[in-house]
């Protein structure tokens, strides 16, 4: 069942058409990877969906009805959660405080017991490996911080979650941890949009790959039936590209 679908989304910044006529569908329990070169419009797409910029044209259909996303709060209310690349965590606060930041239970006499219980529930649901929720976020590894950021986005019971480069700047083991997390989100029936540069990650967890090139759709592939070379060809716009030439050189020598 399709949760979120975009039709004809366009966005221009001055004279530059950042996005032209974009289509994208995300179903519940599906991981859609959005890939593209620098400047392909991935970040603009994320910003439109998370309510940072409004789209100039096109329709967004969410759970069967046409919606407009004017602000981050509106996106949140609809059930579209975004985890930005810089995570936006407060390092001096502990995991519980970060998870509930801005949404504390009982504002005038904080109910830390309820918040801690709920934090553990959330983290267990993601099978997250965080030893203690009472340590400041500064004490956590990059993968654990990503986990906390994703867990926080789950607090509002979203239907669709957008991950912006979740594995950039992570080590091998931590990347695996985050990929496990993405699979867990899919098992929990969420639609996941994952922006990524890393083809290995895309091949590992995504169901569909949507390729953007120069602000336009350049093909949607089922991961099982497409090779990395084909995706790269779609990203760069040619079968004869820097990556393939390099691979050929490697094969010849």
């Amino acid at each position: 069942m399709t949760v979120l679908s975009l039709r004809g989304i366009s966005k221009t910044f001055g004279a530059v058409a950042a996005l032209t006529d974009i289509e994208l569908d995300v179903a519940a329990g599906q991981v859609v990877a959005v890939v593209g070169d620098n400047g392909a419009g991935k970040s603009t797409l994320v910003k439109i969906l998370s309510g940072v910029h409004p789209a100039d044209a096109g329709t967004i259909t969410f759970e069967g009805s046409t919606v407009e996303i004017h602000s981050p709060a509106a996106a949140h209310k609809l059930g579209i959660a975004t985890v930005f690349q810089d995570l936006a965590l407060c390092e001096n606060l502990n995991v519980i405080q970060n998870l509930f930041l801005g949404h504390e239970i009982r504002p005038l006499r904080l109910n830390d017991v309820a918040m801690e219980t709920r934090s553990w529930e959330l983290l267990r649901q993601l099978s997250a490996k965080i030893p203690s929720v009472r340590v400041p976020v500064a004490a956590l590894s990059g993968g654990q911080r990503q986990t906390v950021a994703i867990a926080r986005s789950l607090l509002g019971d979203p239907k669709v979650i957008i991950l912006d480069e979740p594995t950039a700047a992570l080590g091998v083991a931590q990347t695996a941890e985050v990929l496990n997390l993405v699979e867990r989100l899919r098992e929990n029936g969420l639609g996941v949009i994952m922006i990524s540069h890393n083809m290995a990650d895309v091949q590992a967890v995504a169901d569909k790959v949507a390729v953007l090139r120069l602000g336009r759709n350049n093909g949607v592939f089922d991961v099982g039936q497409v090779s990395t070379e084909e995706i790269i060809a779609a990203i760069t716009g040619a079968t004869d590209n820097v990556v393939s030439r390099r691979n050929q050189r490697g094969a010849q020598s």
Partner: protein
């Protein structure tokens, strides 16, 4: 999974090192200090060193009479330092607290003595004046993005000028000695039985609230402090408080003004640690962008903090005027500014924002006043007092920076 279900929900990770009971609680404290999370340890150590040195130099220093004086002298600067703690927590600074406190004293004296208004109305007007100043700072900071350092530096000069203008050509106004306000600051002491009652209530309340909280955690399946730890903790507090009350009681006892200051500290402690507002203050100090994205109204937090700081400065100014029984041109001048900021920093409030507690203001101001009182007892010139206070402030900032580095390397933020 079945093997670990008996463990509390927050103790199930096998990597967690934990020792239960009283010894475990002590071990945790030691481990935290080693990791650079020093808390109040440097202040307490510093206080012991300072008191020892000053007592050796002048045996009167630790006498009951002098300590009673010390508590009374701390109240005014302490209240101002409490406001500074709030501003520092969001990573800003207010350099004008001295001027605002002086202006507040002047406004009080002019309205009360000059205009003959009832004292409560004069106090209310002074406090409101402080709040308006803070609100103004907040607006300037939010709308124009001027660094708080510059805004309040301008305020320092401007409000000093206003203070001189308000006082007029006489330059000094005496408050009548028989007024309730002066009595409150100079002569009102808590009766002995009531001070002991306060000590018992504080310790008892600490135990009861700790016990109820532990019970709630146990019911929710989380780990909780053992009852023995709670009892020991409260008994230690009771012993310390009872000793302080008894020792001060050898002469005049505990002043109401000091009780007022401690009450403000307790209220601020609650607001900072147990309310949504307090959480957002720490969040803004830690990472403004993250706080904004979490839906916190960052501007409102900044404004509220500036208002609080200036209001506390005004209250401190009233207490200082009452203590002196006069408001003059040098009220709030000289070292008041620096003492208040030094007290906050010495009490463990980080200049980098996001770290510190209300109790830090209490401890810090006692350190600052001890130095000042000790050096006065030694008949040393104020020139030396300034140098020593400056050196102690520098030391406190160094401790802050070093422990911050240690925290980073031990992953404690």
């Amino acid at each position: 999974m079945s093997a670990v279900t008996s463990e509390p929900a927050d103790r199930q990770d096998e990597r967690l090192q934990h020792r239960g009971g009283l010894r475990g609680a002590l071990a945790d404290v030691v481990a935290r200090a080693r990791g650079g999370d020093l808390g109040v340890i440097p202040v307490v150590v510093g206080l012991v060193v300072i008191w020892t040195v000053l007592q050796v130099l002048n045996p009167i220093f630790l006498s009951s009479a002098n300590l009673v004086n010390l508590t009374l002298e701390s109240a005014a600067v302490g209240v101002i330092a409490l406001g500074i703690v709030c501003v520092l927590l969001v990573g800003q600074i207010d350099l004008s607290v001295g001027s605002v406190s002086g202006l507040s004293g002047a406004v009080l004296a002019v309205l009360f003595v000059g205009e003959g208004l009832p004292v409560w109305l004069a106090i209310l007007a002074s406090v409101l004046m402080g709040a308006v100043v803070g609100w103004l700072y907040g607006q300037l900071f939010n709308r124009f993005g001027v660094p708080s350092f510059v805004i309040t530096l301008a305020g320092l000069l401007a409000f000093l000028g206003l203070q001189l203008y308000v006082l007029g050509s006489k330059g000094s106004i005496n408050l009548p000695f028989d007024s309730g306000l002066v009595n409150f600051a100079q002569l009102d002491f808590v009766p002995s039985w009531l001070s002991f009652a306060f000590a018992v209530i504080a310790a008892g309340w600490w135990f009861v609230s700790g016990y109820l909280h532990a019970e709630e955690r146990r019911r929710a399946g989380l780990s909780a402090r053992g009852t023995l730890t709670l009892v020991v903790r409260s008994v230690v507090l009771l012993a310390v408080l009872a000793f302080v009350v008894w020792y001060l009681g050898q002469t005049r006892g505990v002043g109401w003004m000091f009780v007022f200051f401690v009450a403000l500290v307790l209220i601020m402690h609650y607001l900072l640690s147990r309310t949504k507002w307090g959480r957002s203050v720490y969040a803004v100090g830690g990472n403004v962008e993250a706080a904004r994205r979490a839906g916190i109204n960052v501007r409102a937090v900044y404004t509220s903090v500036f208002v609080l700081c200036s209001t506390f400065a005004a209250v401190g100014g009233i207490l200082a005027a009452a203590r002196l029984a006069a408001a003059n041109q040098s009220s709030g001048g000289g070292d008041v500014n620096l003492n208040a900021i030094a007290a906050a920093v010495i009490g463990g409030t980080s200049l980098f924002g996001g770290r510190g507690t209300a109790f830090g203001a209490l401890l810090g101001v006692i350190v600052i006043q001890s130095i000042s009182s000790g050096l006065t007892l030694l008949n040393l010139d104020s020139s030396i007092r300034f140098v020593v206070t400056g050196a102690v402030l520098l030391l406190a900032v160094i401790v802050d920076s070093v422990s911050r580095r240690s925290r980073t390397s031990h992953g404690r933020a």
